[in-house]
């Protein structure tokens, strides 16, 4: 668990969190650990009373604790108190994370075009390729095997991890983070048939091709690029396709998880969360603060309002008004989805009861018939 990190005093860590501490503020620690596994030199993370027992079994001399905890009773020398533990983790991990080992400057085995501009303080690893006219902001860290296309622009303080592909003319704001192998600016999945085809007919009629069939596909090229605001993070192996004419857009503050697919011409608003394996089809617009759980699908050309939340596995096939909370496939407002699921689960018992009643009626009728047969 322990990593080679610089040591930090309790007082420094508390100050970084904006949190209060009690006890020995000068105590120096090297990193954090779960309460039961913390060594003497590690800060135990025990922000919830349910960790109290584990804390007794670890070696920690200091811990981050829930507000009001009796730290002396746990035999600690010092404690930091936080009100919202998950949020405290943001500051704590930022303070304790070891710096990424990418040396300042351009590695001799990187291939940077002479016309590319690299900002001061940038660190560019081996086997990175940066195309002509690209502009890389100050203090950007680029890990190995990253490629950045011609005329792409990246703001300050970005962290671009191994193998990320950024296409030509892509524009990215400040403090961008891209996890390994994210692909930003591949061509859109955009093809057209010479005559209106079966797909268009089926879509209009909900199922009738009207005799139309698909034919050979002509490629619609992507003339647009991708435009990404400040403070955006993109997960490993996520893909953001280029726009057809205008750019595909990702708004400021939006966080995108691993394996998310964002199709061409999509416009994602600000502060959205798109969880793993979510897919958004072409030209759909997401408002601000939209949260899509894992494996959510959103079909093309839709309008998804501000503050819409879709639970994991939801398939949105129609526009959604602001603030809707949706679940399921077909997507329904969450309460209706749960009610419908309850009804679905009850259906077999209901059918069995109906069947039994019908059986009873049928056998009564049979009895009547056979009785009649006997009397006749």
């Amino acid at each position: 668990m322990s990593r080679p990190v610089a040591d930090h005093s309790i007082a420094d860590i508390a100050a970084a969190l904006g949190a209060a501490y009690e006890g020995n503020g000068a105590l120096r620690l090297i990193g954090a650990a779960e309460p039961a596994h913390a060594s003497r030199d590690q800060l135990a993370l025990a922000m919830d009373p349910r960790y109290a027992d584990e804390l007794q079994h670890g070696q920690a001399r200091a811990a981050v604790l829930w507000e009001g905890a009796d730290w002396r009773a746990f035999g600690l020398e010092a404690a930091i108190f936080v009100a919202r533990p998950r949020y405290a983790m943001a500051g704590l991990t930022a303070h304790l994370a070891p710096p990424r080992a990418i040396a300042r400057g351009v590695h001799p085995q990187a291939c940077v075009d002479a016309s590319a501009l690299i900002g001061p303080g940038a660190a560019i690893g081996p086997f990175v390729v940066i195309g002509p006219g690209a502009r890389i902001g100050a203090n950007v860290r680029i890990a190995s095997h990253v490629s950045i296309g011609a005329n792409a622009v990246i703001g300050v303080d970005a962290l671009i991890l191994d193998g990320v592909r950024i296409g030509h003319d892509v524009r990215i704001g400040d403090r961008f983070v891209a996890q390994p192998n994210a692909v930003i600016g591949g061509d859109g999945f955009s093809f057209v048939t010479p005559e209106p085809g079966a797909v268009e007919a089926v879509r209009r009629s909900l199922g009738d091709t009207g005799g139309a069939t698909q034919s050979a596909y002509a490629r619609i090229h992507s003339l647009g690029a991708v435009s990404i605001g400040d403070d955006v993070e993109i997960g490993a192996n996520a893909c953001i396709d280029r726009g057809t004419v205008a750019d595909t857009v990702i708004g400021r503050g939006t966080k995108i998880d691993n394996l998310v697919q964002v199709g061409h011409n999509v416009r994602v608003g600000e502060d959205c969360l798109l969880c793993g394996q979510t897919g958004i089809a072409g030209s759909t617009r997401l408002g601000n603060r939209v949260v899509l759980g894992g494996q959510v699908g959103v079909t093309d050309h839709l309008i998804i309002g501000d503050d819409v939340i879709a639970g994991a596995g939801t398939l949105l096939r129609t526009n959604q008004a602001n603030g809707r909370v949706m679940l399921g496939n077909p997507a329904m407002p969450m309460a209706a989805s749960v009610e419908s699921y309850k009804a679905l689960r009850r259906l077999p018992r209901l059918l069995a009861r109906l069947g039994a009643e019908r059986g009873a009626t049928a056998s009564q009728n049979n009895n009547r018939l056979s009785n009649r047969g006997e009397t006749d």
């Binding site: 879509r203 009629s205 909900l206 309002g305 096939r317 129609t318 526009n319 008004a321």
Partner: protein, 90 residues
């Protein structure tokens, strides 16, 4: 009653189209409001739930249905008729 039906139908259609209610005029067609075939199905479910009625609607052949969806006014009229018919004595 009829003003309530009209207001509620417009509210449902506006929500499906992601438009302000004032943008949903009585002579507008669903197509003009940007509501496609699946959006229409969702709107009909919302109407059924809001008015506790069953809408006789064939999603595959809308034009064959008894339920007239040619304009917002037609839908309001059709819903008023269904509410009157299905809530008799209520």
């Amino acid at each position: 009653m009829s003003e309530t039906v009209k207001d509620k139908v417009i509210e449902i259609i506006a929500e499906q189209a992601v438009l302000d209610r004032s943008d949903v005029t009585m002579d507008a067609t669903l197509e003009a409001l940007g509501i496609d075939s699946l959006g229409l199905v969702e709107s009909i479910f919302a109407i059924e739930e809001a008015f506790d009625i069953e809408v006789p609607f064939n999603a595959n052949e809308p034009e064959q249905s008894d339920f007239d969806i040619s304009s917002v006014a037609a839908i309001v009229g059709a819903v008023e008729g269904l509410v009157a018919a299905q809530h008799q004595g209520a």
